[in-house]
Symmetry: C2
DNA sequence: ATTTCTATTGCGAACTATTCGCATTTAGTA
DNA sequence: TACTAAATGCGAATAGTTCGCAATAGAAAT
């Protein structure tokens, strides 16, 4: 019988250096599927799983929807992808942006506008302090009607 | 053949007065099911459709889940109920509160804490102005870990 | 109170979103 | 190159939501 070592276990310094050259920073294997999914959501924001899959299949027709779900989940855990929640009963995804931003959604045409507000960060700090919470995420979403949709009502 | 008049059409003043005594303010019929659903979500906040249904069936065993969904949808449109979006891929509901509030969710134990921030209203005004949007709703959600859950990690 | 009309309900089926199990493939390592 | 575990594809399972339609029941008219 053979001793199987978990790849995530501690390694000595020498091996650690070697590992960093071979694995990417996340410790995940580099696969065509993952790369493509990542590329797609880097290119286009706020897609849902099905939209990601459809776009990916243009290039990799055999890619399975399960893989898309699994990959988005994994990348989310690694902090490379964020899940956004609109009104619908399903999720949308985007690559983790450099600066925290929030969403304004038009209920007429569906367009999503991103906006930043340092006040949000302030609120976060304040709530964390007041409630003694360790806050790991925050999401601000506003819904309404854009100028165009407002006119056509 | 008989002329059928839509009940929502204009009525003369006299009839209008009568109607206000008979219909409730929303123009919806008063049914046992609706009353019960309303009572349940008035009593307990942030339930999802299935939880509402289970609680309702203690009193009305034949109540159907479809009715719960339909009713919540209707009451939402009338502005009596609000839909809240947590991390999960399904909705939760609460009676429309007097003052706008937001949510802090513990990822460990699931507890939901409500908090108010007038700053949010300010942001809303500001975004509306900056983007020329008519804003109809806003939701702020923060996630993290409560003191208790933090300790047990 | 009785009649009339249609909003609302219950039920099952349909549909959509997401997860799971497992055999097969493949990336990374030795 | 050979080995091993990670990742994939596929189909089935589960969960959440909507739909169609016949039956029921609230409100208005009589
Ligand atoms: Mn975004
Ligand atoms: Mn609430
Ligand atoms: Zn619009
Ligand atoms: Zn907790």
């Amino acid at each position: 019988m053979r001793i199987v070592r978990n790849r995530n276990e501690e390694m000595n310094t020498k091996k650690k250096v070697k590992a960093l050259q071979t694995y990417n920073e996340t410790g995940l294997r580099k696969t065509k599927q993952r790369a493509l999914i990542m590329e797609i959501i880097r290119r286009e924001r706020h897609l849902d799983a099905d939209e990601v899959c459809r776009r990916a299949r243009a290039e990799q027709p055999r890619l399975s929807l399960s893989t898309v779900y699994r990959t988005l989940q994994t990348l989310k855990e690694k902090g490379l992808v964020e899940e956004v929640h609109f009104d619908e009963a399903h999720h949308h995804y985007e690559t983790k942006p450099a600066s925290e931003h929030h969403h304004l959604v038009c209920l007429g045409c569906g367009q999503v506008i991103e906006f930043c507000y340092s006040l949000v960060h302030f609120i976060k700090e304040d709530v964390a302090e007041a409630r003694d919470f360790e806050i790991t995420g925050s999401e601000v979403r506003m819904t309404g009607y854009c100028p165009t949709c407002r006119r056509s009502k």
